[in-house]
Structure formats: C-alpha cells, structure tokens
C-alpha cells in the first residue's frame, strides 16, 4: 500500500488554476433578541479541485457557521448578509430554494461529527447509500444497489456485502463515519464539507479515517473544506489551512508554510498549546493563550486578537488590520508579522530544571489485581438454569503510585480505564483485588470508607457540565467538602474558598456564579478547586480536559502541574490523548480490554521497545508538525466486546505484529526492559526493538529525507 500521506502531499504545490468554490467577502448575520450579530465577517475562501482546505479555530470562532453559510444552509435566523459564493460556474446566491435542493447532496455534500445522528437508524446502510444514487444520479433500483456496493468498497469497508444489510446500531463509530463518507462521495460532488469528522473517534480509528480521506482525494477531484479544532489533524490531511478567529481569517496558506513560518500570533499560540510528544512537564510548561474569544457584539475596536496577543502594541488597538499576502498564497492579518519572524519558534517556555529526584516519596496508592465484572442478565434462559455472561470491564489491573507522582492511563474508549478509576474511588465495587491507600486496606464501596479516606481521595470528572450542580453557586460546590471533610466553621470556609478560587486562577466574584454562567474551562477549574478543597493526597482525573479547547486544555494542564508542585498531590490521570498524558505523567500504563500491556516511565514508553499496541497508538497521534514522519501502523477493526474476550493474547485479533498460533493460544508473559519498564508480549524485547527501529516519531534530518 502506498503511503497516502506522502502521496497526496505532492498535490500541495500544484497550481490551483480555477477554484471550485469561490466565496468572496462573506458576512453572516444572526438576528437575535439583542439585535444583529455578525458572527462571520468579510471572509474570502477559495478551494481548488482536489484540494483539502483546513479551517481551524477555537469553539465559537464561527467555523461551522461559515461552512453552512457557503452552502446556504443556515438556521432560520441566520442570513448571508453580504458576499458572493460561486460553485464552479454557478452563483449559489442566485439560485432558488428548489434549485438549491438539487445542489445539496449532489454537488455539495457534508460529513458531520456525529455519525449516529446523521444516519437513519431504521434503514439498512446499503439502502441509504442507494437512495442517494437513485435521487441524485437518477439510477434504477439495481444500478443504485451496485453503486452502493461500489461505494462501500471504495471506502475500504470490511465485508461490504453484510454491512450493506446492517443497521446503524450494528456498526462501530469508525465504520459509520466510513458510511457517511461513502454517502457523501456517491455523487462525486464538487465540494465536500467535513465538520469535525473524526473528533468523536478514537485516535486509532481517526488515523484510519484520515488515511482514507487522503486516499479518496487521490481518486476524486472533490474540493474539501475540512473543519477541525485539531491542528495535528490539519497537518496530516490538509493542503492549505485557514485559521479562523472570532469570525475572521487570521492566517491562511499552505500547510508547510504556515506550520514552519507562523505569521500570526494566534496560530503561534494555538500551536504552543499543544503538548509535545517529545517533552513533558519537567522540561516545558505549555503556553496557554490568555483570555477568551470575544463575543461578536463585543469586538475590540482594533485588531480583534489584540486583547489576547503577546505582541500587542498601541497601534494594534487603533485600526483593524486587513489580511495581506506576504509570500505567494500565505496571508496574515497581523501587522507585526515581521517581528514574529524574529522571535523565532520557541513557543513553549522551558521550565527551570528541577533537581532530578532519585527516589520518589512514600507509597500512596497500591492497587493490586483489581477486577470488575459486570453481570449481564441471561434473560429468558435463566429460567431454564442458564447462567448470564459477564462483561469483564477490568480484568486484573495493578497500579502503584508514590507521593507527588502522576500515573497516566491511556487506551481506546471502552478499554476499562474509567471503570478502573471508579473502582479505586469506590463508585463501583470491585469484584476482587486489593486497594491500599498509604498502607491501609480500603473497603470496595465508598459508603463504607472512613471520613479520612474520603478526604484523601478526590476526583475530577470528564464532563464539566455535569460535574457541578446547576442549582448551586460555584462557591457552595467548593465550600461543601470543607464543611464536611475538614470541619471548618463558616468563617474559615469563606476564607478558604477565596484562597482556592485564587489558586485555580478564578476571580473572586465567580464564587456566587451559577454553573450556567461559567464557560467549560471555568467550570472545570471550579471542579478542580472542589477536589483540592479536601486537601487530598490522591486525585483521580478522568479525562478532565478532553472536552475543552486546546488553549483551555493547556492552561488547565499548567494549573494541574503547578498545584501538584505546591501540594504534593499524586494524580491518576486518565486520557485517550497520548500527547496530554505524555506531558503530565511520570509513569504511563497502557490499557487494552481491561488489562495492562505496558507500564513504564513516560520517556521509556514512548521509545522502542514498546508493545505493538502502544506502537499503534503512537503512530496514530496527529502531530501538528507536517515534517514529522510517523510509521503508519494501523489497527484493523474495532475493540472486541468485553463479553467475548479473545483467547490467548487479547490483542491478537488486531495486532499488526502477530507472530503465530502462540498469540492465539497462550497468554503473553511480562518482560522486563530497563528501569522497571515492563511489556506484556510474546515477541522478545530485542526483536521488538529491532522491528521498531530507532524512534516511532521521527523528525526529518534534512529536506531530502522528507519524501519517502
């Protein structure tokens, strides 16, 4: 198989003679109670045939609004108040609604973020693709059926015959996204809009879908508008990128130019927020962009990015700069781009090197052989003496943590990492195993644990919207553990809440705000303050940052690192984001199907030898640097159900390095690499090392090394 990444990068330098989509001076206005809101202003956008144009920006920057405006698919209160949109030779704004309907789904198609919502659950997959062929390509029933099969083959669907007969709920998220792409490509559209198509997927699935998009673009000449907040994804699939901020383009240009030569502080800031896979919290602290995206009715007078910009000078605040072309095709809206070049590229602050502690502190948590089996009701057969099966969500996992130490747990969704954390906290009762906190054996259920234990262990949850009671002011949420677990008086509580709000960098008057008056990042800060209120020694963080914007993620990670330094708390940090885990963790445990496969220090896990599963995870991370070459190791299929765990090595059904029957029949042994780094695999370590080469993530030595 040719390396798709290498192939379609060639297209980048092709001249785009005539854009397929030519949108000029687009302004989108929403009618609201408070008057008109101009959410997108004066945006120009041209996409050539066969080109993938990446549109990035924080949430609320107007990405989806812009995309919808381009194809006249705005909600009822939104209007395209100025500008022109041409698709090929057609002036889209001149078409009637009826004519537009022939354009939608035929000449312009769309792939959404949530495939579950986009596919009709009551119609078989094959029929849904055939429907498009019948309506837009005017095929008869049989031809449409053949077309559907052809499309399923085109999107490399495994076993297309049977998939065509299945319904949406019988397919995994990755397969559904393929179906959506198949539907979108059926009519060979001129323009395809992809709105965060991989955001809801696991990294490994995401990598496969991104490869597929690259391959398809080689076959078709469709222009793609690819909307995402993930710069790594942009670097991997797009040819050109536009950085949108508060409804205006800040920088635009070819991938290689923009990533190498950032000409706008916002682009620079976004890239600085992304944790790197080759450094961690000891080396660098992330550079978060301060402040928030302004609302469209409260835009600053001058440059809209000025309030958050590190290079701001008085002149920036006087006049709004326009987008100017610096090099061919590379545009920026920053008047100080010259200075930006001089400052260079060191975006992340290096930390003052701390004395490397030879020994970690005393043991805080020792969880041994934790198992959690959920019974599945046997249904009717139980009457006849049948036994229900079990979902082995966590099957023998052990973790030891010391003081002021971060253990990262990574794995795909459904691998049991959250269940493991909940067992430790006592929210789920473990089936078997031992949990020791500072040498004291804990009961399984939180209801049976002592006050002292409750105080020592705290948790930060994934979803900031659900983790605070919507009816309680933020200060009350933070103050309650103080009253309950630390026996403070009212006066003391007030004082301490203020201190805690300061510690998490929230203004004091937020104490009286209700959660709906806070942003996602602010809510998560309140949740962190609540967890720290009890003065815990162990904090379990269950994907605390994954639902937030990159710049907010960066500031929260910095906050966690700072609090750990001052409080000496240990973190059990659960995430599917390898870069974030790499940044925060001292040790990393890799989980698949309820069991650990590799455990070791963060540095060791990221270099060979490593477990084939880790290897696949690493090669799937989208890295926001188009020059970095990753091995393309892709996992087939999706995670098997925890009800039918494969025999032998659980990973053998998807393992790219399977060596033979031994993998299917025997459980692999734990092997010791250096520094307590352990790998559970049949392949000897020396062989793994030689198979995996020097590093999994390579920086090019020279420009020549770039093409394979």
């Amino acid at each position: 198989m040719p390396d798709p990444a290498a192939d379609f990068k060639i297209k980048e330098n092709q001249d785009i003679c005539r854009p397929v989509l030519d949108a000029r001076d687009i302004t989108v206005t929403y009618r609201t109670e408070k008057g008109p809101l101009h959410t997108v202003r004066n945006v120009n956008l041209q996409i050539g045939s066969g080109e993938i144009y990446g549109l990035v920006g924080e949430s609320g920057s107007g990405k989806s609004t812009l995309a919808r405006a381009l194809v006249r698919y705005l909600p009822a209160n939104g209007i395209l108040s100025s500008g022109s949109v041409h698709l090929g030779d057609t002036d889209l704004l001149a078409l009637t609604k009826a004519e537009m309907r022939k354009v939608w789904g035929a000449r312009v198609t769309m792939v959404h973020q949530d495939p579950n919502a986009a596919i009709n659950p009551a119609i078989p997959i094959g029929e849904q693709i055939a429907e498009v062929a019948r309506i837009h390509l005017h095929m008869n029933k049989n031809d449409a059926k053949d077309k559907a099969m052809e499309m399923l083959n085109k999107v490399r669907m495994p076993d297309p015959e049977s998939v065509a007969r299945r319904y949406a709920h019988q397919l995994s998220g990755g397969m559904l996204q393929r179906v959506l792409i198949a539907i979108a490509m059926t009519t060979n559209p001129e323009l395809l809009i992809m709105d965060e198509p991989t955001t809801a997927l696991d990294v490994t699935t995401e990598a496969v879908i991104l490869d597929l998009i690259g391959e398809l673009m080689f076959e078709y000449n469709t222009a793609i508008l690819y909307i995402t907040h993930n710069l790594g994804v942009v670097a991997r699939v797009c040819n050109r990128v536009g950085v949108l901020y508060a409804g205006e383009i800040m920088e635009e240009g070819c991938i290689s130019r923009v990533f190498k030569n950032k000409l706008h502080p916002y682009t620079r800031g976004l890239l600085g927020c992304v944790p790197r896979v080759d450094a961690n919290k000891k080396d660098i602290s992330l550079k978060a962009i301060p402040g928030y995206i302004p609302r469209p009715d409260q835009l600053p007078h001058g440059c809209i990015f000025a309030p958050r910009c590190e290079l701001v000078e008085p002149a920036c605040e006087e006049k709004r700069p326009s987008l100017i072309e610096i090099e061919s095709g590379h545009l920026t809206a920053c008047r100080r781009h010259e200075e930006l070049k001089k400052i260079g590229d060191v975006v992340a602050d290096t930390r003052e090197s701390h004395e490397e502690e030879a020994e970690y502190g005393e043991l805080v948590l020792d969880a041994r052989n934790i198992k959690k089996y959920f019974p599945v009701s046997a249904g009717l057969s139980s009457i006849f003496g049948g036994k229900g099966s079990e979902v082995k969500a966590v099957d023998d996992m052990s973790v030891r943590m010391r003081r002021s130490f971060t253990m990262g747990i990574v794995g795909e969704s459904g691998c049991g990492k959250t269940t493991f954390a909940r067992c430790i906290m006592g929210l789920e009762q473990a089936t078997s195993g031992e949990i020791e906190l500072e040498g004291e054996l804990l009961p399984y259920s939180v209801a049976k644990r002592s006050w002292e234990t409750l105080r020592k262990m705290q948790m930060v949850f994934q979803n900031p919207d659900a983790s605070l009671n919507p009816q309680h002011p933020a200060g009350e949420s933070v103050g309650r553990p103080l009253i309950l677990l630390r026996d403070m008086s009212r006066k003391q509580v007030q004082e301490r809440v203020k201190e805690l709000f300061q510690a998490v960098n929230l203004p004091e008057d937020f104490i009286n705000r209700l959660p709906h008056e806070l942003s996602g990042g602010e809510k998560q800060r309140v949740a962190i303050a609540r967890a720290f209120a009890a003065d815990p020694i162990l904090m379990v963080c269950d994907e605390p940052i994954s639902s937030l914007d990159v710049s907010v993620q960066a500031s929260l990670m910095n906050l966690l690192v700072d609090l750990q330094e001052s409080q000496g708390t240990s973190y059990l940090f659960i995430s599917h984001d390898l870069a974030a885990v790499r940044h925060l963790s001292d040790w990393i445990a890799v989980v698949y199907l309820g069991r650990l496969w590799e455990i070791g220090s963060a540095e060791d896990v990221f270099v060979p030898p490593c477990h084939p599963y880790t290897e696949a995870l690493l090669s799937a991370i989208p890295i926001p640097d188009p020059d970095i070459r990753q091995d393309s190791i892709r996992l087939k299929g999706s995670v098997p159900s925890a009800m039918n765990i494969p025999s032998g090595c659980r990973f053998h059904t998807r393992c790219p390095r399977k060596i033979g029957p031994i993998c299917e029949n025997e459980e692999p042994p734990w092997q010791d690499a250096e520094n307590y780094h352990q790998i559970c695999c049949h392949i000897p370590l020396a062989e793994l090392r030689s198979l995996q080469g020097e590093g999994l993530i390579k920086k090019p030595q020279s420009a020549g090394g770039d093409s394979k």
């Binding site: 929210l427 409750l454 949850f461 659900a466 009671n469 002011p473 309950l484 677990l485 209700l514």
Partner: protein, 295 residues
C-alpha cells in the same frame, strides 16, 4: 466582599433571570392568554361572592329558566337562581378541590418518585408496578368506584383525585431522578460521604423542581376536568353547591327549554382547562428550555 452583598447579588441575578424568562414568554400569545385567564379565574375564585350580584342560593321561582337579560346576564336556572352568580361562586369549588387534589398528588408522587428512583432495586420495582396497576384502570371508573364506597364529599374527592394522579407524577419524577443520580455532581457528593437525605434534598430535588412545576400544572388541568366530571355524575360536591360539573349535570334535564343554564358552566370548565393547558405549555417553555422530553 461580604456575604450579604453576595447574597443580594445572587438574588438580583435570579430575579433578572425570571424577568428574562417572562420577557421570552410574552412572545407566545397562547402563553400570555393562559396566564392571564388563570389569573382572572383565581381573582374570581377569591372575590366571587362579593362580585356576584345575587347569592348563589337565592331562589326566585317566578323567574325560573329565564334567558340571559339585563338583570341576569347568564339567565336563570330551574329554581330561578342567577346562573352568572353561580358560575362566579362555583369557580371557588373547582379551583380549590382540583388544586388540593393536585397538591396531594404532587407531594406524594414526588416523595415516591424520589425514593423509588434513588433506592432502586426491589423497592423501586414494587412501587412502580403498583403505580402501573393504578394507571391501567380508567381514572373516572376508579374514582366512581372509590367514591361510591366512601360516599361523596369534598374531602373524598380531593383524596381520590390525589390518589389517581400520584402514579403520573411519580413516574415523571422517577425518570428525572434516574437521569440525575448518575450525573457527576451526585457522584461527587457520594465521594465526599454525603448522606442520602442531603443528596436527595440538596443535590437532586432542586433539579427536579422545574420538571415538577410543569408536571403539576398539567395535572391541575386534568384534575379540573376530573372534578367536573365527578360533579356531573353527582359524586362530587352536593347540591345546592354551585359546582360547575354539578350545574351541567342538573341543567341537562332542562336543556331544550334553557340551553344557557348548561352552556355557561360548561363553557367555564372548557375555558379554564384550556387556560391551564396554555399556562402549562408556557411553564414548560420557561423552565425547561431546550425542549426536554417528557422525562
């Protein structure tokens, strides 16, 4: 900043939120109509006897079954009583009986729903299956059977209406609590060792309240109709009370000679039920924006 200013600030933000909700409301004419009519009915119920030109029992056999005129704008009934006065005074019966019945149903339903959903297991199963049994019997039929054996009285009607609507309230509350109890703020409360009472009362109950208010208003409109139906069948408040249902029942006999005797109380029932329905829709829009499903 002292605690008091904080409290004032919070109250301000809350009252401004209510103000905003009302502003939003004004855009829906049906809601406006609903709230205004319900308010008018309440005023009538409070001051009915004072507004009414005659007392509701004042008979005038000479003037019986008179069509609407200047002295009797709704006409007179078979005893020559002023229908207008009777309708005005009768609103008090309907609203108080239906209101009290709804209150009983909401209070007990809330309690059962909260505990049932939070405890779960066999307790939940038993309670909910019992609720299903009540729901499976047509309400009017069940009410008739109970009232036949208990004997018709104001208090008994209240209790029957309350009993009949417990299952519906309990089911709504239960489904909301089932959703809430897996939310992470509830788990956070469990992690810091809060008692079940605190979790139910402080963490869950405030979040059930908006759903409960909407549900209560809907139950209220059902109750009005049920109370009127029972009155019509003679199982509710007894004559000579000017209960609307009772009045419709009595007027049936004279329908061919004097349609107005039946029309005005029946119209009042219809108007009140529709008004409460509109109000209920408005409450839903106000308290549960984003179209939360019936949960």
């Amino acid at each position: 900043m002292t605690d008091t200013t904080g409290a004032i600030k919070r109250r301000e933000s809350k009252s401004s939120a209510v103000l905003k909700a009302f502003k939003r409301l004004w855009r829906y004419p049906t809601t406006l109509i609903g709230f205004t009519l319900v308010f008018l009915f309440l005023v009538i119920a409070l001051f009915g006897p004072t507004i009414a030109p005659y007392t509701y029992t004042q008979q005038n056999l000479v003037n019986k079954l008179q069509p609407p005129s200047e002295e009797h704008i709704f006409g007179t009934d078979q005893f020559g009583r002023d229908v207008y006065s009777r309708v005005l005074v009768g609103s008090r019966d309907v609203l108080s009986v239906a209101g009290a019945g709804t209150a009983v149903a909401v209070f007990l339903g809330l309690l059962l729903g909260l505990i049932s959903a939070y405890r779960g297991g066999l307790f939940d199963e038993l309670i909910m299956r019992f609720m299903d049994v009540i729901l499976s019997i047509p309400p009017l039929l069940l009410a008739m059977v109970i009232l036949f054996s208990l004997g018709p009285s104001r208090l008994n009607v209240i209790l029957v209406v309350g009993f009949l609507y417990i299952p519906m309230v309990a089911r709504v509350v239960r489904s909301v609590v089932l959703d809430l109890k897996t939310r992470q703020f509830v788990e956070a409360a469990r992690l810091r060792g809060e008692s079940s009472f605190y979790i139910l009362y402080r963490e869950i109950f405030p979040n059930v309240l908006p759903h409960l208010a909407v549900e209560a208003s809907m139950r209220f409109s059902y109750s009005i109709f049920l109370v009127a139906s029972l009155g019509f069948l003679g199982l509710g408040v007894q004559p000579p009370s000017p209960d609307w249902g009772l009045m419709v029942g009595e007027a049936r006999t004279w329908f061919h000679q004097a349609r107005w005797v039946l029309f005005f109380p029946a119209g009042a029932i219809a108007l009140l039920v529709v008004a409460v329905g509109f109000m209920s829709d408005g409450l839903r829009r106000m308290l549960l924006p984003g179209g939360v499903s019936d949960a």
